[in-house]
Point group: C2
């Protein structure tokens, strides 16, 4: 299979809660697009499983969040990579779009 997806189709924001779109799922990786309105937070969380994830900023400005209230500046073109078991989250300063790749999915 060769599967084409476009982020243009999922550029949808909701001021009440962040939006989540599943773009791909397979035993190898899962790819999700989340859209956060300015001010929204993807709360810090982690899962006790093997694997790694990347969070790519597609659009906007915000912060990558980590343990002990860590906050790393994040803007379009930035990529954060961490273990799935490591606390991670995102805060949106402006409307913010991210692409999350989880390998392997759990």
């Amino acid at each position: 299979m060769m599967e084409k997806k476009s982020f243009a189709e999922t550029r949808i924001f909701d001021s009440k809660a962040m939006k989540r779109f599943l773009l791909h799922d397979s035993p190898y990786f899962r790819i999700l697009n989340f859209n956060l309105s300015a001010g929204q937070v993807f709360p810090v969380h982690s899962h006790e499983v093997e694997g790694r994830l990347s969070i790519q900023i597609l659009e906007g400005v915000g912060e990558f969040l980590g343990k002990d209230e860590a906050a790393i500046p994040a803007r379009e073109g930035d990529l954060l990579i961490c273990d799935i078991s490591e606390p991670h989250g995102v805060r949106a300063h402006t409307d913010l779009r991210i692409l999350v790749t989880i390998a392997p999915p759990f």
Copy 2:
């Protein structure tokens, strides 16, 4: 480990050959940025291993290439997902930047 990378730092083109930048490598996935100058081609290829890859267009316009001379329009925001064993490639109409995620690396 929490590792931050920026594509801004690898926005480098070479009119003689496409540029390749390794952004991340682990047992879970490998993430690469390739920059193709207008007219350059990432030739169609495949590897007989298990796994899947995604090719994300970061910037520019071109085509995803496949078997039997398949050519699928590709522009910023598009994502192609295929098995590593499936023929895949990219053609750049304009200067084109792509992000390739391979899970698992081989």
